[in-house]
């Protein structure tokens, strides 16, 4: 057995042993607050077992292993429905950026350890009401205030801000230069005076995203994580950190096996739906698509194991998987006819077609919309030109609103 297979076996065994206390069944029926409390205990257990910060440096409390161990563990973890979602953003982007760019190393270490143990949560304050994809067009501003800064403005779609202790934020510090050049990157205390968090209820009924308002929020200059005017580069670095994450060819919706089972259980025109050509075609097409993504992901893993850099085709996963999950979920509801109306918003999108369907649009927008991902593929991989950008090179305060 290879080292990585040993590692996988160890990870699988640990996850199995945690399933009764923290798995899908243990979480059934819990409210968000109770689930979060359970999640903090789960994260602590994960830390104690050496499965937190797997690819982070040991001097900051990580395990010092590689990307391959990290995604190997994540693939095992994903099978049990553990409550890791509250820490996904926190440990995925803001905390790694803090490790990379935080200047006060003692402070950094304390924060990293608390985040790894589920005691503290960080959020990422990027998107604004005026734009998400056009990150550099943001309007929240920081002005000098004595030796420090004063922040005013509004962020939106901030995941888990209502439970967050800290956040990383990009703000405009100079509106007189081109939009990318006037940004600066800070961390903020989410409990500071002037910070107001308002949850946003989403279409599916849950409220994990928030509006965050900043009214004269004062921070000292040691919160700054980039040169003044150098915030955009750090923001891009944040978005690049999570290149190696476990992916799911089901687009974080139900497995295709569930659709096949459904098609065997229900009838269409008096015959099992699995015998209907329209249904068979959808199953076959979805299988081929998911098998392709699985093969891409397997190849990426093997390349990482061999010390190579995986190809850019890994970027297809979210675009293709979530889009097709949305359609397949619609079809699964069609198959059930009026039986599909019964809706329980607490069911997981991984197990329930209605939940998968109603939450699918979020997946196609968050973390890069389909259109943005297509642009990225076209420009970065295929070398096609950027779109026409009338605001290019124009000082921010002269861009027509």
């Amino acid at each position: 057995m290879s080292d990585i297979e040993d590692y996988r076996a160890g990870a699988a065994a640990w996850c199995e042993s945690m399933a009764p206390a923290f798995g899908k069944a243990a979480r059934a029926g819990l409210g968000v607050e109770e689930d979060l409390a359970l999640a903090r205990r789960y994260q602590k257990a994960k830390f104690d077992a050496g499965f937190a910060g797997i690819n982070w440096p040991t001097d900051l409390g990580g395990q010092g292993l590689g990307h391959i161990e990290k995604i190997t563990f994540e693939a095992e973890e994903m099978k049990h429905g553990f409550p890791n979602v509250y820490f996904g953003i926190s440990l995925g982007m803001p905390v790694p950026v803090l490790m990379q760019f935080g200047s006060d190393r003692a402070f950094v270490k304390e924060r990293v350890l608390k985040a790894l143990q589920g005691e503290e949560i960080w959020c990422q304050l990027f998107s604004e009401p005026s734009g998400g994809t056009d990150l550099a067009g943001l309007r929240t501003r920081a002005e000098t205030d004595g030796n420090g800064w004063k922040i005013n403005g509004q962020k939106v779609w901030t995941s888990w801000a209502q439970y967050s202790d800290y956040g990383v934020i990009v703000v405009r510090t100079d509106p007189t230069v081109a939009k990318h050049k006037g940004l600066t990157y800070f961390w903020v205390d989410m409990k500071a005076p002037g910070v107001t968090v308002r949850p946003i209820k989403l279409a599916g009924g849950d409220s994990h995203v928030n509006e965050v308002f900043f009214d004269d929020v004062k921070i000292s200059d040691d919160h700054r994580m980039s040169p003044v005017g150098g915030g955009f580069a750090v923001a891009l670095a944040t978005l690049m950190i999570e290149r190696y994450v476990a992916t799911d060819s089901a687009g974080f919706g139900p497995h295709l096996d569930l659709f096949v089972e459904l098609a065997k259980d229900v009838t269409l025109n008096g015959r099992p739906a699995i015998e209907d050509g329209r249904i068979r075609q959808q199953i076959a097409r979805n299988y081929a698509m998911r098998a392709g993504l699985d093969s891409i992901n397997r190849r990426a893993r093997l390349m990482m194991q061999a010390g190579m850099t995986p190809g850019p085709e890994g970027s297809l996963n979210k675009l293709i998987a979530v889009r097709s999950r949305q359609k397949l979920s619609e079809l699964a509801l069609d198959l059930q006819g009026t039986d599909a109306f019964l809706f329980d918003e607490h069911l997981s999108p991984k197990d329930d077609w209605a939940s998968s369907w109603i939450n699918a649009p979020t997946g196609r927008i968050a973390g890069g919309s389909d259109e943005t991902l297509l642009n990225t593929i076209a420009e970065r991989i295929l070398g096609l030109p950027q779109d026409h950008r009338p605001d290019k090179g124009v000082p921010f305060n002269q861009i027509p609103a």
Binding site: E371, L374, A378
Partner: protein
Amino acid sequence: MTILYGEDQQAIATESRRVLHARVSKDDLLPLLEVTGKFHEGFWTTAKEQGWTALALPEEYGGLALGLVEMGLIAHQVGRSLGGAPFLTSSFGAAKAIELYGSGEQKARWLPGLASGETIGAVAFASGPDPLPARPAVAFADGHLNGQASAVSGGLAADVAIVLADRAGTPTLAIVDLAGVPRTAIGSFDNSRLLADLTFAATAAETLVDGEAARDAALHILALQAVVTAHEQTGGAEALMEIARDYALTRRAFGQPIGAFQSIKHRIAELYGLVELARANCIHAAASEGEAGFIAAAAAARLSATEAYDTASRDCVQIHGGIGVTWEIGLHLHMRRARSLALEQGSSFFWEDVLVDRLAGETA
């Protein structure tokens, strides 16, 4: 088997790409569309010289003892270049049938010639819309075939064929020497496929597999060919995606390259997705030969490669606008090939059913 190509395998891809680029051009291929019975001689000579015909056959019969992965790598490059004859796949299918199911005598008689390329093989299973008919149109009795095998790829030039025949209600896989067998050329939209109806009239033939096992054997051969063809389709789709990209970078409208318009760039980005899914499925399928999931993997490769090549054909022409539909630019060579490869080795309908039968646990 691993799904990462090794250095030797990458060298096969690079070298076959180089030699095909040098020896096959659209100017050679366009005239072949307007006649029946002609194929690209230079392509086939190259295939023989380079040892591609011998690639996946056993060493004792003059083969190179490589496998489906290497066949796939060559086929991908053939797809990019549009090749010029269907024999690489048809001879491979015939040779694999003989290797897997033939007697020592049959192997000794046919495999050396198939390995050198001096003998051309064909596979005649289909009957119209049915790639593996329950009651094949050709009958087998007392060592003789009677009836017509329709639209056999490579049939105009083949020396030997593997035929799915009906033996008093049960299927039989038979091998037949085509010397003296009358064949009628089919005037098709892709004439270098050398499609022909083969007419058997008390033609001597030998059994390879008899009874219900013949159907499984035929499906296995079809799946092996389908994986090779899927690589060829993926190569064609990849070439079209690159042609579309290059055109979108140079052609200008309204003061900018048309590739700066999202309607164009997203279309090409979607092609990239289809090509990469097809490639990934092809790599997986080729590496799973001999494993339990091979038929399903072959079906997935076949479905995604057919979709990729057909879509790339449509979209590449569309992105070119008027110039794209001219004879001279030759994009129709790919359009035609995309369709002929989609029909050879069973349509998408067939492979969808093969796949779903397996997923639903009702293997026929």
